[in-house]
């Protein structure tokens, strides 16, 4: 029994140490945390990739304020809620806002996730958890010694999220299934004849 207990604790320790040691996102030239990747897709023309990106944004309801810059760069904003969990106890403790950029060219595209901002939640007078401020704190900012460990958790969470998001997005873009172009519904106008 002691052996089982020891092995269990050892296993838990390994999991926690690995979680802590996971590399955080690198910084870009502006000093912001960034996940950046260039993906080559042979035999995929630019217009096909454009359509895939367009459909991805259209179908992903967690991304807001989608906008296109020119005909090849898309920007969207998203957020993830940080949920503090301790066995049965759970409540949202904050949210991390981010921006997602995608740019396409012939046979390749690149995307990056950046502009991570953390907004802590606080419980309002009605017992609901709401953002305590509308303006987030950049996740790469030094929080000071007092909140260092918690801030590292948020940075680690953003890293884990960005990697999972990237995997999901690349899978979508690599999907060989034909993309259907929505056909506008034609209406019969009988008013003028």
């Amino acid at each position: 029994m002691k052996l089982i207990s020891f092995l269990f604790l050892f296993a838990m320790g390994v999991v926690q140490v690995r979680a802590q040691e996971e590399a955080l996102l690198p910084l870009d030239e502006k000093g912001k945390l960034i996940y950046y990747e260039v993906v080559a897709l042979k035999d995929q023309p630019k217009d096909s990739l454009q359509l895939r990106v367009f459909n991805y944004f259209k179908g992903n309801k967690s991304l807001k304020s989608n906008s296109a810059i020119g005909d090849s760069l898309w920007v969207a904003e998203g957020k993830m809620v940080v949920d503090k969990t301790l066995l049965v106890m759970s409540h949202p403790s904050g949210e991390i806002l981010y921006r997602f950029y995608v740019e396409v060219k012939d046979q390749k595209y690149r995307f990056w996730i950046s502009d991570f901002n953390f907004i802590p939640y606080q419980r309002d007078r009605y017992g609901n958890f709401v953002p305590s401020t509308p303006i987030g704190t950049p996740l790469e900012k030094d929080p000071g010694k007092l909140n260092m460990s918690q801030w590292k958790e948020y940075q680690l969470l953003a890293t884990t999220f960005a990697k999972a998001f990237a995997v999901s997005f690349k899978q979508y873009m690599a999907n060989k299934a034909p993309i259907t172009i929505p056909i506008p519904v034609q209406k019969v106008v009988r008013k003028n004849w």
């Binding site: 838990m12 949920d83 969990t85 301790l86 066995l87 049965v88 802590p120 606080q122 918690q150 999220f161």
Partner: protein, 348 residues
């Protein structure tokens, strides 16, 4: 012993690993806060009795606050109870439905059910934190630990039924029927009407225009309160809040008016300083004269995880002797009072 050991290891492990994960909202949210404080009045008396943090030269208790929330589809409930001086005898009412400093009970902070008919329209019924004013009972939601005269004079909670409709992201309206202030049961019928217009003039700026009117059981007249509560996060560091209110009881039966300004500056996410500057006026009943007080409170917020330390220094001026401040000799009649306090508030 072995079972306890295994259980402890399981609890410790699960708690740590599961922290900070992106998940869907929990079916049952459990949260709350605990607070305690030390106060030292420079006249060595229990001056500045704005409801909470009154006890002189004592490491005293605030309250433990426990809240449950669950959402199932479009329906949700919130149940929030508090225990301890701040949440019991110093709040209104206690479990017996009466205000009695000597009765030891608990206080219901929130007990309501809500149904969201759509993203824009929802109805709530039960006992809720008041929609009037800037400050609340729970110290976890206030920047300053001591509370203002405006807070102490206005309603703490309202029982009733209210409907809210969001016209857009920038404008919404709430209207409802309510009991008398701070009672679980209204003995003269549902006697108050209230409304709140919420406006978002700019990103980070929210303003609430509130009104609550009705005749409470046994009251001399109909009381009507108009309240403006607004906060503007002007930059990432600087926030400015304002609360202005006017309360009048008909037939010249008194009331109050006041304004409080709340500038706050965050040096880091963990360290912030703030000021509360308040001017408050009690309206005299009949031919009685008005009485005014002013108060300046400087507070710090130093956060580490769930813990917030709130060092605070406060100066109150009572030129009309309405507050009964004692001087250093213990004689009532001082025109001013000042105090230092240090509070610790833990939220979970």
């Amino acid at each position: 012993m072995k079972k306890k050991f295994m259980l402890s290891a399981l609890v410790l492990g699960c708690g740590t690993v599961a922290f900070a994960q992106v998940t869907t909202p929990s079916p049952l949210q459990i949260s709350g806060s605990v607070d305690t404080y030390y106060k030292y009045d420079f006249n060595k008396a229990g001056n500045i009795k704005t409801y909470f943090a009154n006890e002189q030269n004592s490491v005293s208790l605030g309250m433990i606050d426990l809240a449950l929330k669950k959402t199932t589809g479009k329906a949700s409930f919130v149940g929030e109870l508090s225990f301890g001086p701040r949440g019991q005898s110093q709040s209104i009412p206690n479990a017996l439905g009466a205000y009695d400093e000597t009765t030891n009970s608990f206080n219901i902070q929130n007990l309501y059910v809500n149904y969201a008919f759509s993203d824009k329209f929802n109805v709530t019924a039960g006992y809720m934190g008041t929609f009037i004013g800037y400050e609340v009972i729970s110290p976890a939601a206030n920047f300053n630990y001591s509370t203002s005269y405006l807070f102490g004079s206005g309603p703490f909670q309202n029982a009733g039924i209210k409907a809210s409709y969001a016209f857009s992201d920038k404008v919404s309206l709430m209207a409802g029927l309510f009991n008398d202030w701070n009672v679980y049961q209204d003995f003269n019928g549902v006697s108050h009407i209230g409304a709140q217009l919420t406006i978002v003039p700019a990103t980070g700026w929210t303003a609430y225009l509130n009104v609550l009117s009705g005749r409470a059981a046994g009251a001399a007249g109909t009381g009507t309160i108009f309240d403006l509560t607004t906060a503007y996060q002007i930059t990432g560091q600087f926030k400015l809040g304002l609360n202005a209110a006017d309360y009048t009881v008909s037939n010249d039966n008194g009331g109050y008016s006041g304004v409080a300004l709340y500038p706050q500056y965050a040096f880091t996410p963990a360290v912030a300083l703030g000021l509360r500057a308040e001017f408050f006026n009690y309206k005299g009943v009949g031919t009685a004269a008005n009485a005014s007080v002013s108060s300046f409170t400087f507070s710090g917020n130093i956060k580490s995880g769930g813990l917030t330390f709130i060092p605070e220094i406060r100066f109150d001026s009572d030129k009309d002797f309405s507050q009964g401040f004692a001087n250093k000799n213990g004689i009532i009649g001082a025109k001013s009072a000042s105090q230092f306090s240090l509070a610790a508030v833990y939220t979970f």
